[in-house]
Amino acid sequence: LNCIRVREALPLYVGGDLDPSLESQVAEHLKSCSPCFRVAASFRAALAPLRRLAADRPTPEGLEADVLAAVDAVRRDPVLAVALAPNRGSRRYGFEPAALAALLLLGAGLGFAFLGSHRGAGGSEAGARPIAPTPAATRIADSGRFGASVPLRHVRYETPRDLYRGVPPRTGGAVEASFDLNDEEFAGRVRRSQPDAAAGTQVQGDR
């Protein structure tokens, strides 16, 4: 190996990511070539801080409890379960299209079943473009636990944690939803944070 090839190989060599055969050739070269050895040493020195950080990763305090609480909140709350269900077939794990589809169908079905003509227009709109509901949506629809359809077209959760804690999203601009998850009685509030913060929609349901 000449110096040019060795130096090309150094970024992977210093991390132990070269093929074993090439690795031994580079190691041999470095034993006898001080300029290349110095370049290798400078790579190691530059990457050393990363290695130090990799060795110092304490378990984040309280995170496990936070995750379990958020998961539990989602388990207990069918609206969240639908809204946060991953989008099938999406590599980006987006949930909004799936949630909207499910909620439109849910709204349509429940609207017809419980509210008669109150939500009739929304029902026919959803029926014109059938989209398969998620299993979670189907379970909710089958259980009939909600007495009103939920106009969640504009709802966007910034993070489940924001939702769980009921704090407004920090990044702003999105429509927020907050639920008092400590209440046995489910009473969610969906409102638009911008531009008309005053406009609100009450979402009601029972457990």
């Binding site: 992977l12 530059a46 801080p49 990799a54 958020a70 590599r91």
Partner: protein
């Protein structure tokens, strides 16, 4: 308490030992139980992986609050999609993929917020570090993440996974959905970028130190 030694299973040449096979079997049992609605089994998966997921997210985001959000959201996504878990792949590969995708989404939102800062939308401040991460390493962590933040997302991703979390190149390829050769190339470029940026930073610091 520190995270147990990471990725024994991910060592690039090591074949699966009987212990690793058994660990995998136990993990699959938890996943099957969680699929049947066993909350304790899911909690066990959270217990096992939440810290690793956090440090993967932190490697990309360099922000404690954002990383915690991403981990929570990732586990909720896992919960919703657990029925479709493919037992042919590793749970951590799947989880890390979700974490990486969520973190990259968040980075893009951050970049958008930066781009539209003139419209008055405040950009979240990177906290760099907090006492939760240990005072000694706080400064170093802040500096490393400031340099990592200058790398394009795809290079930052491989650096975060390989350098900060010890994930093998093959495993990174599965996580980011690209070939092993591509990952190695990105790692090659990323280490060069990082070295140049880090050395530039060192020179600036020395220049400032000499000037004062």
């Amino acid at each position: 308490m520190s995270i147990p030694p990471l990725h024994r299973m991910l060592s690039r040449q090591a074949p699966a030992t009987p212990e690793q096979v058994e660990e995998r079997q136990v993990e699959h049992d938890w996943i099957r139980a969680a699929q049947r609605g066993d909350a304790d089994a899911f909690a066990e998966l959270v217990r096992l992986y939440h810290a690793r997921a956090y440090w993967v997210a932190y490697g990309l985001l360099g922000d404690e609050e954002d990383s915690r959000d991403v981990v929570q959201e990732a586990f909720i996504r896992v919960l919703g999609a657990l029925e479709r878990f493919d037992f042919g792949q590793s749970f951590y590969t799947w989880l890390y993929r979700i974490v990486v995708n969520l973190a990259i989404d968040r980075l893009r939102r951050r970049n958008k917020a930066r781009a539209t800062a003139l419209d008055g939308i405040a950009e979240p401040e990177a906290d760099g570090d907090s006492p939760a991460h240990g005072v000694e390493s706080a400064e170093l962590r802040r500096e490393v993440h400031a340099v990592l933040a200058t790398l394009p997302d795809k290079y930052r991703t491989v650096m975060a996974l390989r350098e900060l979390n010890g994930v093998s190149c093959k495993e990174i390829a599965r996580i980011v959905h690209c070939s092993h050769a591509t990952v190695r190339w990105r790692l090659h470029v990323a280490r060069k970028f990082f070295k140049e940026a880090w050395e530039r930073r060192e020179r600036q610091r020395e220049g400032l130190g000499g000037a004062s």
